[in-house]
Amino acid sequence: MLPELGQFALILALLLALMQCTLPLIGAWRGNAALIATARPIATGQFVFVALAFGVLTYAFLAQDFSVKYVAQNSNLALPWYYRFSAVWGAHEGSLLLWVLILNIWTVAVAALSRRLPDPLIARVLGVLGFVAVGFLAFTIFTSNPFARHIPGLADGADLNPILQDPGLIIHPPMLYMGYVGFSVAFAFAIAALLGGELDVAWVRWARPWTNVAWAFLTLGITLGSWWAYYVLGWGGWWFWDPVENASFMPWLVGTALIHSQAVTEKRGSFRAWTLLLSIFAFSLSLLGTFLVRSGVLTSVHAFASDPKRGLFILAFLTVVVGGSLTIYALRAPKVAGGKPFQMLSRETLLLINNLLFACAAAMVLLGTLYPLIGDALGVGRISVGPPYFGFMFLLLMLPVVLLIPFGPFFRWAAGDWRATVRTLVPALVLAVVCALAAWLLVGGLHLRAVAGIAASLWVGAGIALYALKRWREAPSGRRYTPEMLGMIAAHFGVAIFLAGVLVTESTSVESDVRMAPGETKNIAGLDFRFKGVAPAQGPNFRADEGVIEVSRDGKLLATLNPQKRQYSGNTPVQTKADIRPGFLQDVYVALGESLDPSTGSGQATGAWAVRIYVKPFVRWIWLGGILMMLGGFLAAADRRFRLHAAVRDPRSETRSGNEVRTSAAFPNPASPIANPLQP
């Protein structure tokens, strides 16, 4: 009975979404206040029904209702309750429902926190968001119904994909979707501005905090995903450039360009077309990512189930949304470049370069991801490009970014002082070069990439630190750092940390595969690893072989690691569960290989195993950098500037729309109410 109610709720939500994307838009177009006023209640209603559907599905999982096909496919009686909870988004149908729920959370947040924005604008924004909801609700209901029954009901279900049975997977998808879907708000603001023809800079100021928050969530989601891959896949890698990862990385790259471009448009009025297009593309790439992951176009040789009907549906929807937006853009985009003039050497130029490089990087990743498909289309065969292509191209495109980051804050708007900036940055340059040289001389045989990593990290880190110092000295006390500025400093400092992590880890990790008999000790990278043998262990829903390895340095025990090889129910492959001793300066990573005992015959059982030992210096810095970038996004979004006197600096919109557009009022902080969206 409940699942049918859930489905019914979804259908009602779809009907409300249809109203949401028509009535307010018509209202805004005809200037009908009554229709405009329907936007918020309809959005709220839609949220209520989607939340209801989501709650019903969650309940079906927690109560183990195996008469629901999706539940039966993705959980079983032995699955612990927290994985039954996260299994809701463990496969296709449920993750779509999560997608829609998060879209609704964003929509309701916009509706609730925009009381002081012009009503027609908000009607248009909610209308556009409603249109997106229509697409995804219809997709869920018509092609991927999570409430479909399995008749007769089953006594027990299959299992959640063992690779997803991990704490990281409880929070990774929701955070990623918060980011993906969050770009829909910037998108909706851009389309609303195009529709309304009010292409001044006011909409950008309103869209900025939302974009920053979405970008921060996406950063967190990607960081969590990378961390998860590192400790779950058992290879010690942290990024694989596979289509699914790329699907989340492309919106991030465009989103990064967008938050910078928005800053220019809001403060200087320039780059209006850039900001509009990047807003459209950031969300379009989120949709494209969904298409690529869900249609099976690229993943047909991977483990995902693919369904051409689903692919066709998303493609049609993608065409309507993106094609429609770009058509509106072509018709309504500003005909003259607005904004204040700027010289060659100015902050605007630097940010233009930033826009270009990040847009190119996104295009490069898109090209590489679609390469097999292009090969098919041109009849040259399905060839894929691998990490070497992505790694090399990305390095090439990001090198100028890294070199230029410290200049950004020092350069003034309109006309930067090249000489003065270089003079200011000399200490950072000297520090970077001296430390890199010292590291190279002190540590014998250090890889060039590690040296480059140290130099790049110190260059960016010290450059940003110099800027923070300059503000501390020059600005009056109490007004030294705005949250926006702190966000910038934190995020760019995150880049420095990230650079050190990536380049040092990649070049100095020690990877060793050894045969170990019980009692044996190996010395690897200055640490002693003592293998005490492997014993069977029993988890809640798996059996495992668990190894015991003591790690010590100079006779002092540092950690006891227990890597496992897990066999979950059914025909699933054995999962290698590495055990890690995390450290700020280095991770010790141990995974079990195969038992080296002869399985049959008369060979003597020695209890020996193949053991993989990694020592990975600085690997945590990769995610620490990501966390700092995320923090930067949230900090910047919290700036009071976005909340107070939202459009005071733009007198045109005040005079033109008079009373109706209440521009000088407060814009509440968007970060707080959505910080914890998944409280059921």
Binding site: V301, A303, P308, T327, A330, A333, D376, A377, R382, D513
Partner: protein
């Protein structure tokens, strides 16, 4: 015109993606009627994974049928396929040759050490050239080559026990030289 460029670019992309869907629909369950089926297997000469001073070429294998399984330590699906090969390889009755595709030899070896080695011989195709000759578009893939060096069967994607029973074994049975 300038402002139409994004739209034009996007429609090119849609055309490509639409083609992708069409391609997938018309190549049911990945069974591409490969242009290579019924044709001679491409010539190859590759170093052995465990002894790179020796090589194995198509000529060495003429005279008896064999299976070529394309794998790589970087390939997640291969990990799923691997237990199947471990369990069934001995029953094929023909040699199973592993082609370690686009993979560093040390990574392949480590992978095999961890998951076991179902192969009779393994050759290393680190730069992926032989894979291109075979028309490989993603690991895992499996080819059945007969005694005359002609490709008889091809599977793109993972071999499952069901597929082995329903497709591969009948093909193997058709081979005159293969023991049942």
């Amino acid at each position: 015109m300038n402002r139409l460029l994004p739209l034009i670019g996007f429609f090119a992309l849609v055309a490509l993606l639409g083609f992708g869907i069409w391609w997938n629909t018309h190549h049911e369950s990945n069974e591409v009627p490969s242009p290579l089926i019924g044709k001679p297997a491409p010539e190859f000469t590759l170093p052995l994974l465990y002894d790179s001073t020796k090589t194995l070429s198509k000529r060495d294998l003429l005279g008896k049928p064999y299976l070529v399984n394309v794998f790589g330590s970087w390939c997640v699906t291969c990990q799923y396929e691997h237990p199947v090969l471990m369990a069934e390889a001995k029953q094929f009755g023909v040699p199973l040759i592993g082609l370690a595709w686009k993979d560093k030899p040390e990574d392949s070896k480590r992978w095999l050490e961890q998951f076991g080695n179902p192969y009779d011989t393994i050759v290393s195709d680190a730069d992926g050239r032989a894979g291109i000759e075979f028309g490989v578009y993603g690991a895992p893939e499996t080819f059945l080559v007969d005694a005359q060096g002609t490709i008889r069967y091809k599977r793109i994607g993972m071999l499952t026990p069901e597929l082995i029973a329903s497709e591969l074994k009948p093909q193997l049975a058709k081979l005159p030289q293969a023991k049942p």
